[in-house]
C-alpha cells in the first residue's frame, strides 16, 4: 500500500468534516487534490481494504434492539449448532472464540421483546443455554487501526 493511502485511511477513520464539499476539505488537510482523494477512496473500496465509507450509525438510535450472546458448545456438536444459530435471520454476526464459551453472536431485532423470544427459540432448538449480555453502557466504539 502506498504511503498516501495509509494517510487517507488513518485520517478518514476519524471522520469527514460535515461541510458542503467534505472531500475537498479532507483532501486539503492531506495535501492532495479532491480528485485524487476520491479516486483513491474508490480504489480502496474496490480492493476491499476499506469495507465501507459513510455515516456510522448508532444502531440503537435507529429503533432496533441488540444483544450479545454466548454459548458453551461441545466440540463434537459445534458445526451443527453453528448452522442452527446462523439460520436465525436475527443473528447479525457470529464468532468462534477460544474459550469454554466458544460461540459469540449478536442478535439484532426490531424490539426487545423479540430478542427474548429468539433467545428462547435458540435454546430450544440447540438444547443449550444461552448467556445474554446486553450492553449497559458504551464507552467507545469505532476502529482506529493504523494502516
Amino acid at each position: 500500500m502506498e504511503e498516501i493511502d495509509r494517510r487517507i485511511i488513518n485520517r478518514l477513520q476519524e471522520g469527514l468534516p460535515l461541510v458542503e464539499a467534505p472531500y475537498a476539505a479532507a483532501a486539503k488537510e492531506l495535501g492532495i487534490s479532491e480528485e485524487e482523494l476520491l479516486s483513491r477512496l474508490r480504489a480502496l473500496l474496490d480492493s476491499g481494504v476499506l469495507s465501507r465509507f459513510g455515516p456510522m450509525f448508532n444502531p440503537e438510535a435507529l429503533g432496533g434492539a441488540f444483544c450479545l450472546c454466548a454459548m458453551a458448545v461441545p466440540e463434537e456438536a459445534y458445526e451443527e449448532v453453528a448452522g442452527m444459530v446462523n439460520a436465525f435471520p436475527e443473528v447479525a454476526h457470529n464468532y468462534r472464540r477460544e474459550h469454554r464459551f466458544n460461540m459469540w453472536f449478536v442478535l439484532a431485532c426490531e424490539t426487545p421483546g423479540r430478542i427474548a423470544q429468539v433467545l428462547r427459540e435458540i435454546e430450544e432448538r440447540t438444547g443449550l443455554p444461552v448467556l445474554d449480555l446486553p450492553k449497559e453502557r458504551e464507552f467507545y466504539i469505532g476502529l482506529r487501526l493504523c494502516a
Binding site: A21, L41, F57, K135
Partner: protein
C-alpha cells in the same frame, strides 16, 4: 436517545450503503430524496450532534490491514469503578469497542468488555499488558478470548418500521 423523523429515516436508508464519492455528496442525496442540499447537510449535522451518526468515516477491513490477532478481553471490576476505567480504556488507540455488560453469575463474572486488535498475538499481548497496567488494582479477575473464526457476518441494517411485530 433522540427521535428521528421519517425524512431522517429516508436519509439513513439512502446512506446505509455508503456516502456518494462525488465532490458534492449532499447534492446527490438531496436529488434522491427530493430535498434541498442545505437541508440534507443540516440533517446530517443534527443526527451527528444527537449521536445517531457517530461519524462519517472510513471503515477498514481488519484483515486487509494485517490485523489478525483480535481479542475480546473481559474484566471483573467493582461496579462503581467501571465508568471511570471504561472511559480511560476506550480512549486507547488499539481499543475498538468498550462496553459495560451485566454479570451472569455463577457462569459469567465479567462486567467490562474491551476489544483489542493487533497484527499478531505478540502485539495483542503487549496491548493487553497495557490494559492491565491501566486498570491496576481495580480488576478482580480478567480473561482473554481470541477470535478464531468468523461464523457469520451480515451488517446491521435499519429495521423496517412498516413491518408488524
Amino acid at each position: 436517545m433522540s427521535r428521528i423523523d421519517p425524512i431522517d429515516r429516508r436519509l439513513i436508508e439512502a446512506t446505509q450503503g455508503g456516502l456518494p464519492l462525488v465532490p458534492r455528496p449532499w447534492e446527490v442525496l438531496a436529488g434522491e430524496l427530493g430535498l434541498e442540499p442545505a437541508e440534507v447537510l443540516r440533517r446530517v449535522r443534527s443526527l451527528h450532534s444527537r449521536g445517531v451518526i457517530r461519524r462519517v468515516a472510513a471503515v477498514p477491513n481488519h484483515y486487509a490491514l494485517g490485523y489478525r490477532a483480535n481479542a475480546m478481553t473481559v474484566w471483573d471490576l467493582p461496579d462503581e469503578r467501571v465508568a471511570e476505567v471504561g472511559e480511560r480504556l476506550g480512549a486507547l488507540e488499539f481499543v475498538s469497542h468498550c462496553y459495560q455488560r451485566p454479570r451472569r453469575l455463577p457462569e459469567w463474572r465479567y462486567n467490562l468488555f474491551v476489544m483489542v486488535h493487533g497484527r499478531d498475538r505478540q502485539e495483542t499481548e503487549r496491548q493487553i499488558g497495557q490494559l492491565k497496567e491501566l486498570i491496576g488494582g481495580d480488576a478482580r479477575a480478567f480473561d482473554v478470548l481470541y477470535s478464531s473464526r468468523i461464523l457469520k457476518k451480515t451488517g446491521l441494517r435499519l429495521a423496517d418500521p412498516g413491518r408488524p411485530e
